[in-house]
Amino acid sequence: MNLDREKFLKRKKYPIFLAFIILTTFYVFSDLVDGDWNSLENSLDNLSVFFYESLWPPNWKVLEARSYPVCDRGWDILCSPAYIGIVETLKIAFVSTGLGFIISLPLASFASRNLYRDSIAIPFRFLLSSMRTLPSLIWAIFFVILIGLGPVSGVMAMTFYTIGYLGKLQYETIEGISKDPLDAARAMGLSNSEIIMRVVIPESANNLISQLLFMFEYNVRHGSVIGIVGAGGIGYYISTYLKFLQYDKVMALLIVLFFVVVLIDILSIKARSYFIEDVNLKYPSFFKSILRFK
């Protein structure tokens, strides 16, 4: 009887916890607003005015060739700001994800406490978290000052952030692998580098690939932001149009970006489904992908 009562009370904890979260959120929010709720009152009207007067309809001239330099490619769209910007963003994301992965994997191995003792792992964790502390936008500002405007700064900025972010995901994955294969390999007398190559990477390969694809997707989205500070990609065009108050063109670029990200998301789910075990991920319909769009 007592046991049932305990179970019941345990189950009751979840609604209490949920209510606590909701109430605290509203309390902190009202504290931030500081009684000035009027500022929120007209926000919807403002949004509709801004949307219909400035953003809508999107200006699809962004898909036409730029007037200068003269387009020498077969199709006009290949010389358009949208195409050039998105391709550059994809290139920046691709290179920085690849470089980030290559550098972060050894660092993450050193940061794993099931492979190396704390005196080695903790400094590497500090290194990775310090790289992660600065968002890619700040890294981009830093590299634009250091290297100058252009995609190389973008690549450097996103590589640094990728190392920090991916490194953390990787060492958590490595620490989560089963103890048994590590024990068997250690007892055998294999060195740490052999254990990493023969046990750790094969054992966590599915997760590592899945994280790599996630990071690429993430970098494509962030690639558009870093362009705003001059680090190349579609963000460069977005920031230029913003400066000249051409919001309809910004809207068109955002729609292009949205569809590219959705497309990458679909491809990445498809690719990840090959690597994630025991999860029956089906090829998603287009609508479902939009619903889980982040």
Partner: protein, 229 residues
């Protein structure tokens, strides 16, 4: 007969304040099959992990191959309870993990394996009757076949001492007996020492010597006693 494991006043556990078991005196000789039984949580796995040099003893003498240091590469094979195989990799890949003990670090990391290493892998797989499963991922194999892969891995590494931790526990009796027979036949014909933690008392008594970890009446730790067969 030379002793492979030599223990005197060994205290094991995870800290000096909580000793799990004490082993007064134990000599395990070359080519001997020794089984250890005992109730759950009494320290069987901890004792085996100490033998495998995965844990350091709290106090006392523990010599493996007459040395306090880690045995040389490949000489000691440890089969954990869940076998320690890479489950989504193939039989070949897993057995190769044992065989790389015979080559240089550079070769094992880069994957340019020597001919003798490849031969060792293939021979071990053949001896364990797994030739038709060579490219099959471990997760698609039956429990008995997975145990045979684990044995093939220790075979490929050329282990002179095999420590197996309850590795037959999840099998039905018929398969477990079959795997036991394969294992004992292999170790006996190659003069290999086997220390096996076993749940099934009947099977444990098939070993040359059987020990039991029993709780000491007056204290929290357990002691290792030889069981009369």
């Amino acid at each position: 007969m030379s002793s492979v494991i030599n223990v005197e006043n060994l205290k094991i556990g995870y800290s000096s304040s909580s000793i799990l078991a004490i082993v007064d005196n134990l000599q395990i000789n070359k080519g001997e099959i020794v089984s250890i039984i005992g109730e759950s949580g009494i320290g069987k796995t901890t004792l085996l992990r100490n033998f495998a040099k995965l844990l350091s003893p709290i106090d006392g003498k523990l010599l493996i191959f007459d040395s306090q240091l880690k045995p040389e590469r490949g000489k000691l094979g440890y089969i954990p309870q869940k076998l320690g195989l890479i489950t989504h990799e193939t039989v070949y890949f897993n057995v190769l993990e044992g065989a790389i003990c015979h080559e240089s670090l550079l070769r094992s990391i880069t994957g340019f394996h020597e001919e003798k290493v490849i031969n060792k892998v293939e021979d071990s797989i053949k001896l364990m009757n797994l030739s038709d499963k060579i490219d099959e991922p471990i997760k698609y194999l039956s429990g008995g076949q997975q145990r045979r892969v684990a044995i093939a891995r220790t075979m490929a590494q050329g282990a002179k001492l095999i420590l197996a931790d309850e590795f037959l526990s999840e099998l039905d009796d018929k398969t477990a007996n079959n795997v036991w027979n394969i294992m004992s036949e292999y170790v006996r014909s190659n003069d290999i020492t086997l220390v096996i933690v076993e749940h099934n008392v009947e099977r444990a008594k098939l070993a040359d010597r059987c020990f039991e970890l029993v709780r000491n009446q007056d204290s929290d730790f357990s002691v290792l006693l030889e069981v009369d067969k």
